[in-house]
């Protein structure tokens, strides 16, 4: 593991015509630090993630991953380099079963990228099947192994989405609202499973969340977004107790179950 921060973002900006979705974002994340990202809708959090994962190209600024410049690269190249993401709305394959979903992800992870690798590698093999089952166990969704994905409850969909995202052994994982759509009782269970799994795989995590309790519980460090830029950056308690953050994002004072 090099000394370079796993993620180094400098002066990042994204405009759509006249709309400035994100500006002046400078963040450096060391490996294995769990970062929480909070902010109201439209504050630029998803734009930030989309730029890091290559879905959007920044208008200005740079993004470095483990020292290498990845600014503007397409998503598939960034994924191959070791950054992966999950989605606010779980992106899974609805007509396939949970196992088949994972098997696809495992097969893709185990092949050599490129035309030849795609055609020459059989999609099913003992190795990929084993990897798929291992992932299903790690994320504790074995109960649903043979259920078609369109029939899954929301929590399992989210877990499947995340499980697929880590099939390729990424070193950095970005979670976009991992607990959105999950009932309050189940949020903590989900995050416990996810964080334990990611720790086992030694993956650095950056997650966007609206639930302040979740953020306080699981994040080492919290970034607060407002109006397209980062207005607070510190430990969970530093950021969450920051009066500006409380005024603009989380509400008056941090209470149990506070939401932004």
């Amino acid at each position: 593991m090099s000394d370079a921060p796993i993620l180094d973002v400098r002066n990042l900006e994204k405009t759509f015509g006249l709309l400035v979705a994100a500006h002046d974002i400078t963040v450096s994340v060391p490996a294995h630090q769990t970062v929480g990202v909070i902010g109201a809708n439209g504050a630029g959090k998803t734009t930030f993630i989309n730029m890091i994962t290559g879905h959007l190209t920044p208008t200005k600024g740079s993004i470095r991953f483990e020292g290498a410049d990845i600014t503007g690269l397409p998503s598939r190249d960034i994924v191959r380099l070791g950054i992966s993401r999950s989605f606010q709305v779980a992106q899974i394959f609805p007509t396939l079963t949970v196992f088949e979903n994972m098997a696809v992800a495992a097969a893709i992870a185990q092949r050599k990228p490129g035309l030849f690798g795609n055609i020459a590698t059989p999609v099913r093999s003992a190795a990929t099947d084993a990897a798929a089952d291992a992932a299903i166990d790690l994320f504790q969704i074995g109960r649903y192994r043979d259920v078609v994905a369109s029939a899954l409850p929301q929590g399992v969909r989210k877990l499947l989405d995340i499980a697929m995202a880590v099939a390729g052994a990424p070193r950095l994982l970005l979670l976009d609202e991992p607990t959105s759509g999950i009932s309050i009782e189940e949020k903590f269970d989900l995050m416990n499973v996810v964080m334990a799994a990611l720790k086992t795989r030694k993956i650095t995590v950056l997650f966007v969340e609206h639930d302040m309790e979740i953020v306080a519980t699981f994040a080492d460090r919290v970034l607060a977004f407002y109006d397209g830029t980062v207005i607070a950056d510190g430990t969970a308690h530093q950021t969450l107790d920051d009066p500006r953050v409380q005024e603009l994002i989380s509400g008056v004072r941090l209470k149990a179950g506070a939401h932004a």
Partner: protein
């Protein structure tokens, strides 16, 4: 999905089809040859259908394959069938590779329309080319087979067996492709392209590959058809020709490779029957058959087989 059982089943069908040939009247053999040639185009469409794309322009490659054969004989006197089929397939494949850069970026209706437009461009060019006989086209010289020059019934048989051989190789190759990562990603891409892209795969690249495969198969089919029909004309690139191939694809479904061949045979038989018995209503017959298939058997004839299998599995 290709399994050992279906591999043996396909082989058995193939041998039966080859062995039956000498006992079948020449007009029927000719019909079967054309059907099995067209089946290659359909197989290409199946490759695309599995990833959720319908091309209304496969006639482009069909026509390229056909004209490669016809022009080669006309301009250079070269008539070797085996070589010409390969050249036809490769030629069409090259065109598909070039077109694919553009086409692979499109989906759904736009993919269908752009492929249609491209095939109509070829049609337009051919119709206005006097030296190629414009709408009348021109005839194809009798093919030879690595030095062997058959006539009459022997010619029909040889051409038929060559078509079956090409079919067998194509079916095997496509079956293997379906088991590879690229082939198996069809359903996931159709389900959720973004997810596939974010797993590190170039979706455009995969679709480009499929366009090329479909193009090669179209060219092979056109080359064989041209030799069997003995004539080429611009109509081979017309959108209704593409429509016919799509028809068979719907009829066959995308589940089994063999369905493309059986479906194509059924279609030619139906069309022949309709032409002979009710010539004023053959379009109505086809249209009704297509409609009924779409409404009641949307996954094609192949899905009947799947249903039978499931029922057997439940019983046992």
């Amino acid at each position: 999905m290709q399994s050992r059982a279906s591999l043996f089943g396909g082989l058995a069908l193939l041998i039966a089809a080859a062995a039956a040939a000498p006992f079948v009247p020449p007009w029927m053999l000719s019909l079967a040859t054309i059907a099995f040639a067209n089946a290659l185009v359909v197989l290409g469409l199946v490759v695309l259908w599995r990833v959720g794309l319908v091309s209304f322009g496969q006639a482009l490659y069909y026509c390229i394959g056909a004209y490669v054969v016809a022009l080669s004989a006309r301009w250079t006197g070269f008539t070797d069938a085996v070589a010409l089929v390969l050249i036809g397939g490769i030629g069409a494949g090259v065109v598909a590779a070039l077109i694919g850069f553009l086409l692979a970026r499109y989906r759904e209706i736009f993919f269908a329309m752009l492929s249609l437009a491209l095939s109509m461009i070829l049609y337009g060019v051919l119709v206005k080319t006097e030296s190629l006989g414009s709408t009348d086209g021109f005839s194809v010289e009798t093919p030879t087979f690595l030095g062997y020059r058959p006539h009459g019934a022997a010619l029909g048989l040889t051409l038929y067996w060559l078509t079956l051989a090409v079919d067998a190789v194509a079916a095997l190759a496509v079956g293997l492709y379906f088991r590879s990562v690229a082939g198996a990603l069809a359903a996931p891409i159709r389900d959720n392209e973004i997810r596939v892209e974010f797993l590190g795969v170039s979706v455009t690249g995969i679709i480009h590959t499929k366009v090329i495969i479909a193009g090669i198969l179209g060219g092979l089919g056109g080359a064989l058809a041209a030799m069997s029909i003995g004539h080429v004309d611009p109509n081979m690139a017309y959108w209704t020709t593409s429509g016919g191939f799509v028809f068979v694809t719907v009829l066959a479904g995308s589940g089994y490779v063999a369905a493309a061949f059986i479906g194509s045979l059924a279609f030619e038989a139906l069309r022949s029957f309709a032409y002979d018995v009710i010539p004023q209503f053959w379009q109505m017959t086809l249209g009704s058959a297509l409609l009924l298939t779409i409404l009641f058997l949307p996954d094609g004839l192949g899905s009947l087989v799947t249903r039978l299998k499931r029922r057997r599995a439940v019983k046992s």
